[in-house]
Symmetry: C2
Subunit: 178 residues, 2 copies
DNA sequence: GGAGTTACGCTACGGGTCGTAGCGTATGGA
DNA sequence: TCCATACGCTACGACCCGTAGCGTAACTCC
């Protein structure tokens, strides 16, 4: 915090006049970093997914990003208010990427239109947790590279799974396709 | 740390004689917690996946587990040695669950046998990151419940994706099934 | 049985960081 | 000109990690 104030050229007390504490400041900083993510139209759902995966991985490779993100998530484990703040400021904002990607895929005819809005929202949440969770886990927990090959393999898995989810295969015993 | 020593009924210095520092102790503690995970044979790949997802989620709901895990992962962001220690003590150990689940599914005929061992290993790593990452992200970042409904939806997605991965569908533009 | 080794307990301390109190100061508008 | 608002600065309290140094008990080995 002293370092932050130093780099910002302000007094430490000024930081505490704008943010309630270290956690709040870090959440806001991370939220700004995540706003760099974009979803250019690469022509297919597969390419879009791979693109965002590699982009997210590149963001997570930057020391400030991964350290700040994980530190604040770890802290949120013991602070309910911080947890909701993370969800509102970071998670909810980036769901736009999933919604935009799905919309484009539907326009291309790669995914069917959603019938039930509630189911559509739950599916979007599922997709978001799968993508973000897998990339974070691969990069920061397993500590192995998120390269083009991995992104490609992950995308194959995800999109095939998406097809099953979208086609209403919600029986109690899935996996009958093999 | 003072609290740990107090609860253990030993002096703080004794802890530092057994572990190099707080991080190493926490990694070992988390590794023990993760060893509670089991993979009972529930009769189908789908049931096995749902079972382990719910079991993992229950483990992550316990305050000690989630706080300790995320704290040490966050710290590993700035400590390469700690990072490899986490990978060796926690991640690598729990890959047994994926390998066992796949083996059973192959015996049941739900998944084909692997031709290339290297590809099989990479696929196992992918599955592990997807499962662990999605559950952790859902529970601790999105801060939404990992209940039976979510586990069921996630399993449908994963197993359908597994089918695509296993059947050698590794073309540049997947998703042609929709 | 005596001497040495090993492991542990205990106190005190240094270092670092978060967050706050209190006070002085400048800027900008009425 | 006066007042309100915001900022800078110093000092400080509180907390926690990790270590130094020393005393002590148990255990082994001759």
């Amino acid at each position: 915090m002293g370092d932050v104030a130093l780099r910002a050229g302000v007094a430490k007390t000024t930081l505490y006049r704008r943010w309630a504490g270290k956690n709040e400041l870090v959440v806001d900083a991370v939220a700004v970093l995540f706003d760099e993510l974009e979803l250019p139209d690469l022509g297919s759902l597969s390419a879009d997914v791979q693109g965002v995966v590699l982009q997210f991985a590149a963001l997570l490779e930057r020391p400030e990003t991964k350290t700040a993100l994980m530190a604040v998530v770890a802290e949120s484990t013991r602070d309910e208010a911080l947890r909701t703040r993370i969800r509102d400021s970071i998670v909810a904002r980036q769901k736009r990427l999933v919604l935009l990607g799905r919309e484009r895929a539907q326009e291309r005819g790669e995914l069917p239109s959603e019938a039930d809005p509630a189911t559509a929202a739950r599916t979007a949440d599922l997709i978001f947790d799968v993508i973000a969770g897998a990339v974070v886990h691969r990069a920061l927990v397993s500590a192995e590279p998120v390269d083009a090959d991995w992104a490609q393999r992950f995308t194959v898995l995800l999109i095939a799974g998406l097809g099953a989810t979208a086609s209403g295969r919600v029986d109690q015993k899935p996996g009958g396709s093999v």
